[in-house]
């Protein structure tokens, strides 16, 4: 688990925390009189909880993978070239696009 993983984790957690905790508190003051205030607060909280949990599962699942993808050889060659800029001789090259 490198620092980049931790950064991602913190950023996303703060985002959903803002939606799930800060926004309802703000609504308490903004929408104070409206009859729909409670419903909107519930909606914010539940959205934040569900979406965060879903993202968390996908993230933690890939944090320490046990198994890797099984790819065809040609596909590996294409991946190396397109995604990682490794030309067929094995050297890295700078991609212009």
């Amino acid at each position: 688990m490198g620092t980049r993983a931790e950064t991602t984790f913190i950023v996303v957690s703060i985002f959903w925390a803002f939606i799930g905790i800060v926004c309802p508190i703000l609504l308490q003051f903004c929408m104070g009189k409206s009859p729909n205030k409670g419903i909107v607060q519930i909606m914010f909280i539940m959205t934040a909880v569900c979406c965060y949990l879903f993202w968390l599962c996908a993230f933690l699942f890939q944090l320490n993978p046990l198994v890797g993808p099984q790819l065809e050889s040609n596909l590996i060659r294409v991946m190396q070239y397109e995604w990682f800029g490794i030309d067929p001789t094995g050297h890295h090259h700078v991609k212009t696009t």
Binding site: P35, F54, A58, L66, P69, S73, R77, W83, G90
Partner: protein, 872 residues
Amino acid sequence: MGSLFRSEDMTLCQLFLQSEAAYACVSELGELGLVQFRDLNPDVNAFQRKFVNEVRRCDEMERKLRFLEKEIRKDGIPMLDTGDNPDAPQPREMIDLEATFEKLESEMNDVNANSEALKKNFLELTELKHILRKTQAFFDEADHHTMQAMHDPLIPDDDVQLLGEELGRHAGQALKLGFVAGVILRERIPAFERMLWRVCRGNVFLKQAEIDTRLEDPITGDRVDKTVFIIFFQGEQLKSRVKKICEGFRATLYPCPETQSDRREMSIGVMTRIEDLNTVLGQTQDHRHRLLVAAAKNIKVWFIKVRKIKAIYHTLNMFNLDVTQKCLISECWCPVADLDRIQQALKRGNERSGSSVPSILNRMSTRQEPPTYHRLNKFTVVFQNIVDAYGVASYREVNPAPWTIISFPFLFAIMFGDAGHGVIMLLFALYLVIMEKRLAPKMSADEIFGMFFNGRYIILLMGAFSIYTGLIYNDIFSKSLNIFGSAWKPDPSVYNTSSMDLKNYKINANNTVERPYPFGLDPVWQLAINKITITNSLKMKISVIFGVCHMLFGLSLSLLNHRFFNKPLNVYFEFIPQLIFMCSIFGYLILLIFVKWLKFGPADTGKAPNLLIGLISMFLFQYEDPCKPTTCWYAGQKGFQITLVVVAVLCVPWMLLVKPYMLRKQHLEGKPHQYTLLNGDMSQDDELLEVVHHVDSETAYPGDDDGYEEKLSVNSGDLLNSEVEGDDGTLDQTGLVRPTPQPFDFSEVMITQAIHTIEYCLGCVSHTASYLRLWALSLAHAQLSEVLWTMVMTTALSFKIQWLSVIFIFVCFAFWACCSIVILVLMEGMSAFLHALRLHWVEFQSKFYKGEGYQFVPFSFDTMLAEYGLAD
């Protein structure tokens, strides 16, 4: 939070209305729409009710209006809908309305009758015209024969009769041929001919000619083909036979003059008369049109007024008349929070009717369960409907609907999980939502469109969440997005192009870059051969995690119910063991899932523990002696797991036995401790019971209402808040007094508790497994999407002939798009919708929801008119 969290506090009220003011007050209450009247005369025949005459008059008025509407529609005149909502008119205005409708109806009937008579006349004249024209041809032929027979140029044509007198004289017989001319429907001619031939033994002569134009039948308005015929016969007997046959075949006979000059005169006369008739007909139609246009301006408003009057009188029929005959009494349910508004409406009604005595609204206490009322707006109504479809919430229990607003679309999205299809759903729903006002009238026309339109907010949320889950599953029309760079970099030193000779390689997990794909599933998995194995693992675990969380949430809502209804027994002896049972088994499983994700990495590929096998062995107490790393992987695991299983098993008798025992103990300790009466005084118990029975017996109230009023009027403060604890929850916050009618039956309580316990424990396991449908549907959707792409678009895109491939791609894309929408969006969408619904109704709501209430249906003009609008 308002009333969506729990249903509203309702109260039974008694309404005393003065007879003169009753109509106006009910009208105001109808506009308000917050009161549900109870029928105080349920066993009275509809024809014996007090206001049956008025209802009959209203029905009559409605019938006249419907007749007018039908005529207006027949003429195709548009009916003006101003959107006005006029108040119900006063009773004296009803007489004016009746007179207007009566006049209109009689005028319409007159016009219609005249028009029909004129048209019949017109038809006769037209037929006569055709006859005169056609018979000319017949007589010409006869004329030709006579000319051939005796060539006498001196006799002018006009005087030549049929067959000529001379021929008749020469023949030496009084050869007087009679004839009849008429018109008959073309279809009937063959049968007509045959009948004539048979009956008259071949002694009559029929000539026929078809009428080219189609004539309009005056009664039905259809256009029919007719034929002109002329029959020649000799003698009176044949004449009568021929006439009878013509009658039988509904042929109309016309007098046809013999000489040509006569015929010509008649022709001219007929033409003039036809022209006159046309003018008159035109004027009649104009008059009718003008009448209808004038009526069409007001007809919608009239409909509304008449329907409102009828509704008011139906409601008044439910009232009771008191002994003095001056006052109408009724009972109604209304929400406590709206009592002020109702009082104001009554005041307004009193002012309108100019009555001196004010109306009285009194609260009453009762044994009956009040109806359930949730205040809804256009957004929440659809979610409340899907909850109510399973069962209307019991009075004042926690309502699942506000939670369903998000959890239902989210569970749908987990099963749907494709961002591309989610975008389609979202755009469709946005169209429906933004064009709400314009599309609302069309809703009543088409049922299927109406269904989609009503659910537009659900579809909006489902689409939005599907986009989110689709991005996390990294599935957009079965393709993945690579935004942040894949984490799986094939190391060039290992996977060197020159040294790769195998068909496929499994990339070593050690070869990943330093961080997992930050948002969702890595894009490499879409291309991998072992994609399904990996996504299965992810989706199954997600399903179980979300399932257990959803169920625990439902369980915690049941705690809120127990606390609200003040049943500590339920909290200690139902809720806590249920919670412990679920957490110790399935909560532990969730914990293991997370720990395994965090603790075991690429280095432990062969040694990672299998959670499912672990769970099974935990139940069976199977632990191997030399502890293998696959089965016990943290210190103290064996002891901890054994403890958990023992605790879970202990929860079962806790749930099963303790509560019935406690209830029995309470029962044996005697009742007086258990009831805190309304005014804390035992002696008043009987009086209240008497009042309660009084209400139920529904007889006319005695004149002496004073002692009754001062206890229960609204103004005397809220005395109905007390806490009564009884056997099986006979209490609620409104302080409904419910003395236990039956003796305590221990066996019944025991059996109920046993059923609940078994249902819960087995349900825990089966419901958790049931949540795996989240995985199953998501897998099916992804695979369908991928197959569709591979089979359709890939073939198109890899087509060899270049110039033909353009057309081929065009056609294939159309096919792919249609299949995507029909199969993947509509069919799969409906399927996921149903499964998400089932998960809510069974797995979630069985943890806390009773759903045994009945809906609050207020007397409201708006809902009544809307129902009529749909019926129209």
